[in-house]
C-alpha cells in the first residue's frame, strides 16, 4: 500500500493506506481524528465536512490520493480550544440534540462565513441546506450561524 504525506491541521502526518481510501476513513481510522462523522458515504448529508485549502468539502467522497499537498482542516484544528466564533455561537445557542451532525454543520458554517461575512437569511439557508440534522435542530443552527456572523464582523 502506498504511503501518503498529509498536511492536517498544520501538521505533517504520514499514512499508509490504499489509494482509493476516502479521506474520512483516513482521518477516523488511521489518524484518530473522529470529529468528521460518517453519515451517508455519498456526499449527501454533510456530517463529514472538512476544509480543503479553506473550502468546505465532503471527506467521504474525496480519496486520499486527491488531497496530497493540500491543507486539510478538521474540526479538531478549527481552533485551539473550541473558541472559533462559530463554535462559540453553537455553544451560546446550545444547538445540539444528539450532536452527531454538528461538527459537519460547524465546518460548513465556518467556511461559508469566511467568504460571506454579512450573509442574508437566504444565503445562510442556502449554505446550510446541504447538511442534514436528523434531530431537526435547524432553527438553532440558523440562529447560531447568524450569531457567528455577527461575532466575526466585530
Amino acid at each position: 500500500m502506498p504511503t501518503y504525506q498529509l498536511n492536517i491541521n498544520g501538521e505533517s502526518r504520514s499514512v499508509e493506506v490504499s489509494e482509493d481510501t476516502p479521506l474520512l476513513w483516513v482521518l477516523r481510522d488511521h489518524l484518530d481524528l473522529v470529529g468528521a462523522k460518517y453519515g451517508c458515504g455519498i456526499a449527501l448529508c454533510g456530517s463529514c465536512t472538512i476544509h480543503l485549502d479553506g473550502v468546505a468539502v465532503r471527506s467521504c467522497a474525496i480519496s486520499i490520493a486527491q488531497v496530497e499537498g493540500k491543507a486539510i482542516t478538521t474540526i479538531e484544528g478549527l481552533s485551539e480550544d473550541g473558541t472559533h466564533p462559530v463554535q462559540e455561537a453553537w455553544k451560546e445557542v446550545d444547538v445540539p440534540q444528539c450532536g452527531y451532525c454538528q461538527t459537519g454543520q460547524i465546518m460548513t458554517a465556518s467556511a461559508f462565513l469566511k467568504d460571506n461575512p454579512n450573509p442574508t437569511e437566504n444565503e445562510i439557508k442556502d449554505a446550510m441546506h446541504g447538511n442534514i440534522c436528523r434531530c431537526a435542530s435547524y432553527t438553532r443552527i440558523y440562529k447560531a450561524v447568524e450569531i457567528a456572523a455577527n461575532k466575526m464582523a466585530q
Partner: protein, 723 residues
C-alpha cells in the same frame, strides 16, 4: 432549607424503594469518603478530580465538587443533562460544580435504563429527587452531629451546610461521617417555588466535546486489537443464504477474515473502508424461503383488512352500528401511511469483546439491559458476565431499542475470538431496518341533531397494532358510541417502534378527520373539539388519561398565541390538538401560497408537559419534534419491491433540510404538575397541522403520507382530492 412548608415528605419505605433504583451502593461508598477543606472550590477541571463514591448516582470530591451519574441512555433527548439536574436540585449543590458522567448498565443500582416512550423524566422524577434529598439529609445529619445540634437547625446552600451559630461545613468535609449514619426515616423534598436548578436553562453537558469533535459516539469508540466487521445480510426480506464465495473479498487489502454466521456473512478488516470494500467483493447467492413482498401487495392487503371483518376490538362504548343507522349524516375517510426507516445519522454499530472472563459491550443502545440479557442467553453465559457501556448516540428514534447490531457484534466476536465493532453502512442501515410499519386507518363518524353520536376507528397495520392506552386517547370518552378495532397482516419485513409509535400517523388521521367533520357539520373547528372535551370532564373511566382541562388550556392558548382566525389574507392556518406520551399539545400551522404552491412558514406549538426541568433543552426537543413531524409527513417515502427496500441512501430518501424547516414558536404551559416527556409528543400533531392548513390554502384535502405524493398539491387551488 426554607422548604419545610408545602413540601412533600417521603417515608423511609419510599426511600428503600428508591434505594434499589438509586442507591444500593450507599453503604459501599461510605469507607471511600474523605474529609476536605471547607468551601474549597477553586476553578478546576471537574472531570479530572478524584471523587469519593457516595452512592450509585453521586460522588463528592474533597473540594465539594460533585459527580452525578446519569443512568439512562442519551439519544439526543437531553436526559444526560436533565436527569442529573433533578438530583442536583435536591442535593442542593450549584449546577456549575456538577460534573455529569454516563452511568453504565447496572441492574443492581438502577432500574429502567431505557430511552423510550418519552418516559425517562416521568418515571425518574420521584426517585431522582429522593436520591438527591436523601443524600443531602445524610450530609446535614453528619454536620449536625459534629456540631452537637439538631439537624433541623441546619440549612444547606450550594454544597455548604450552616447552623444557627453561623458555623459552616462543606459537603466534602462530612461525607465520611455521613456515610456511617442510618439512612433517614423520611426526607423532605423542596417545594417548586424554591427550585434553583429545575426550571433554569442548562446547556447540553456534552456541548464542549460535541463542538470540538471529541470521541463521544459508538462509531468513535476504539479498543486495542479491535477489528471492524461489515456484515452482508439477505438483500430482500424473505431470503436466506444459499452459497457464497469469499475469495475476492479475502484478497482485498486490509481484510482479515470472512465468517458466516446464520444467514449472514461478516467481513473482518483492520479498518472500516477495507471492511466495506471487502463486503462489496463478496459474492453470495440467496434463495427465497417466503414470499417477497411489495408495497402494492401491502396496500391491497391492508385495504382488504379494513373492508373485512377480522378485527380485534380494543374499546367499545355504546353501539356504533345503531348510531350510524340513526345518523343524519355520516363521514367516512381512509388514511394511508408508508413504512419509514429511522435513519439515525449515526448508523447502527456496536463493539463487543467476548472472552472467557467476560463479555464487554460498548455502543449506542436504547435498551442496554434487554440487549445484554439477549446476548448472555445467546452465548449461554451468565448475565453477570456482561459489562455494557453506553455511548452517546447519534439519534435513536426507536431504532436502537432493538439490539440486533449488538447481538451481531457479540456473535462475531465470539466466533472470531477478537474484539469486534460491527459497523453498518448507510445502505445497511436503511435496508436492514426495523421499520415503522405501514398503517391504514378508516374513521367513520355519525352526526345526529348537530352532535357527534358515533365514532368508529379501524386500524390495519403490518405486523402489530396500537397498544396500551392509545385506543383511549381523545376522542375516547367524549362520544357515546365509540369503537376502536384493529387488524394486522403478518409480514416478513421487520417492523418496530418509530418515534411516537402509532400516534405518529394516528394523530394525522384523526385530526385531519376532525377538520373535515367540522366542515361537514358546519361548525367551528375549535368549538367542535372544545365541545367534545366538555363531555369528558369528570369522567371516572380510568383508561382515560388525558385531561380535558389541560387539553382545553393548550387549545385556548394555541388559539390566542397563533392569532387563529385573525390572520391577514394569504395566511392559511391548520389546527391540531393531541395527547400522547402523557403530554398535551396543540399546534397551529401557518401556510402561504408561493407561486400557487403551499409553503409551511411557521408552527405555533403549545405544550403542557408539567414542570419543565430544563427549558433550553425542552425547546430544542419541541422544535425538533415539530420539524421532524413536518419532514416525514411531507417527504417520508419508503416501500418495498419484491422484498427489497425502495431506497437505501439519501439520494432516494428525502429528509427535511434547512430551507424546508418552518419557524417554530413554542409556548409552555406553566404549572406545578409532575413532569412528563418531550422526546415524542410534539411530532404526531405536526402532519395534520400542515395538512389542515394546506386544505385551507388550496381547497385540497390530503389523506395519505407522504404529501409529496400529491403532485396536484403543487398546482395551486383548483380541484378537490377526495380519498
Amino acid at each position: 432549607m426554607s422548604t419545610q412548608n408545602k413540601s412533600i415528605t417521603f417515608s423511609r419505605r419510599s426511600f428503600m424503594k428508591t434505594s434499589s433504583l438509586a442507591g444500593g451502593g450507599l453503604l459501599i461508598g461510605f469507607n471511600l469518603f474523605n474529609a476536605c477543606k471547607p468551601n474549597a472550590k477553586p476553578p478546576v477541571n471537574l472531570a479530572e478530580l478524584d471523587y469519593n463514591e457516595f452512592n450509585a448516582f453521586i460522588q463528592i470530591a474533597d473540594n465539594g465538587a460533585v459527580t452525578i451519574f446519569s443512568p439512562n441512555p442519551e439519544i439526543g433527548q437531553g436526559v444526560k443533562t436533565s436527569m442529573p439536574m433533578i438530583i442536583a436540585e435536591e442535593l442542593d449543590v450549584a449546577w456549575k460544580d456538577v460534573y455529569v458522567k454516563q452511568g453504565v448498565l447496572d441492574t443492581n443500582n438502577y432500574t429502567r435504563q431505557v430511552a423510550g416512550g418519552s418516559q425517562s423524566i416521568r418515571f425518574g422524577w420521584d426517585p431522582l429527587r429522593e436520591t438527591g434529598a436523601t443524600a443531602r439529609q445524610m450530609l446535614v445529619n453528619a454536620a449536625a452531629a459534629r456540631w452537637g445540634v439538631d439537624p433541623s437547625e441546619c440549612s444547606t446552600n450550594e454544597g455548604v451546610i450552616s447552623n444557627a451559630a453561623g458555623d459552616k461545613l462543606g459537603y466534602g468535609e462530612v461525607v465520611n461521617e455521613a456515610a456511617a449514619l442510618e439512612i433517614p426515616e423520611d426526607v423532605t423534598l423542596k417545594d417548586v417555588k424554591d427550585y434553583k436548578i429545575i426550571g433554569t436553562d442548562a446547556a447540553n453537558v456534552d456541548i464542549d466535546k460535541i463542538i470540538t469533535g471529541e470521541p463521544l459516539f459508538g462509531l468513535d469508540y476504539k479498543a486495542e486489537g479491535m477489528v471492524i466487521a461489515s456484515v452482508m445480510r439477505p438483500p430482500a426480506f424473505g431470503q436466506k443464504l444459499e452459497t457464497f464465495d469469499d475469495a475476492e473479498a479475502k484478497a482485498v487489502d486490509g481484510v482479515i477474515d470472512v465468517l458466516k454466521f446464520g444467514d449472514k456473512i461478516a467481513v473482518l478488516a483492520k479498518d472500516t473502508w477495507s471492511a466495506m470494500k471487502g463486503k462489496k467483493a463478496l459474492k453470495a447467492e440467496w434463495k427465497s424461503d417466503s414470499k417477497l413482498e411489495s408495497t402494492e401487495d401491502h396496500d391491497k392487503l391492508l385495504l382488504g383488512l379494513l373492508d373485512g371483518n377480522k378485527f380485534e376490538t380494543l374499546r367499545e362504548d355504546g353501539n356504533v352500528k345503531k348510531a350510524f343507522s340513526q345518523a343524519d349524516k355520516v363521514l367516512e375517510r381512509t388514511y394511508e401511511s408508508p413504512f419509514l426507516p429511522h435513519n439515525c445519522l449515526e448508523p447502527m454499530n456496536f463493539y463487543a469483546n467476548v472472552t472467557e472472563e467476560k463479555i464487554h459491550l460498548v455502543g449506542p443502545i436504547q435498551t442496554p439491559e434487554g440487549t445484554a440479557k439477549n446476548i448472555a442467553k445467546l452465548l449461554e453465559r451468565d448475565f453477570e458476565e456482561v459489562h455494557l457501556e453506553m455511548t452517546r448516540m447519534g439519534g435513536g428514534f426507536g431504532r436502537r431499542l432493538y439490539g440486533d447490531f449488538a447481538v451481531e457484534a457479540a456473535e462475531i466476536s465470539n466466533l472470531a475470538k477478537k474484539p469486534v465493532k460491527v459497523v453498518f453502512s448507510r445502505e445497511d442501515d436503511m435496508a436492514d431496518g426495523i421499520y415503522r410499519p405501514a398503517i391504514k386507518y378508516r374513521i367513520k363518524a355519525a352526526v345526529k341533531d348537530g352532535e357527534v353520536t358515533g365514532y368508529h376507528l379501524k386500524e390495519a397495520a403490518i405486523n402489530s397494532n396500537m397498544y396500551g392506552l392509545i385506543p383511549n386517547f381523545f376522542p375516547a370518552g367524549a362520544i357515546e358510541n365509540y369503537q376502536v378495532d384493529v387488524a394486522k397482516y403478518q409480514s416478513n419485513i421487520t417492523t418496530g417502534a418509530w418515534r411516537a409509535p402509532y400516534t405518529n400517523f394516528l394523530a394525522f388521521a384523526e385530526q385531519s378527520f376532525f377538520d373535515e367533520l367540522a366542515e361537514m357539520m358546519e361548525v367551528d373547528k375549535i368549538k367542535l373539539r372544545l365541545d367534545l372535551l366538555q363531555k369528558v370532564k369528570g369522567t371516572t373511566d380510568e383508561r382515560i388519561q388525558y385531561s380535558p382541562e389541560r387539553m382545553e388550556k393548550v387549545i385556548k392558548t394555541a388559539v390566542e398565541k397563533s392569532g387563529w382566525g385573525t390572520k391577514p389574507e394569504g395566511v392559511y392556518q391548520g389546527f391540531v390538538n393531541y395527547y400522547c406520551h402523557n403530554s398535551h399539545v396543540a399546534e397551529v400551522a401557518d401556510v402561504v401560497l408561493e407561486n400557487g404552491n403551499p409553503v409551511v412558514k411557521k408552527i405555533t406549538c403549545v405544550v403542557d408537559c408539567g414542570i419543565v426541568i430544563n427549558p433550553l433543552g425542552a425547546l430544542n426537543q419541541i422544535e425538533g419534534g415539530v420539524i421532524d413531524g413536518v419532514g416525514h409527513s411531507m417527504y417520508g417515502d419508503f416501500g418495498f419491491e419484491n422484498g427489497v427496500p425502495t431506497a437505501t441512501n439519501f439520494d432516494r430518501y428525502r429528509l427535511i433540510r434547512m430551507k424546508e424547516a418552518p419557524v417554530v414558536e413554542t409556548h409552555l404551559i406553566q404549572n406545578k404538575l409532575s413532569p412528563t416527556g418531550l422526546g415524542e409528543p410534539t411530532l404526531p400533531p405536526a402532519g395534520a397541522a400542515i395538512a389542515n392548513a394546506f386544505k385551507a390554502a388550496t381547497g385540497k384535502r390530503i389523506y395519505n403520507q407522504p404529501f409529496i405524493k400529491y403532485p396536484e398539491l403543487l398546482k395551486g387551488p383548483e380541484k378537490e382530492i377526495i380519498g
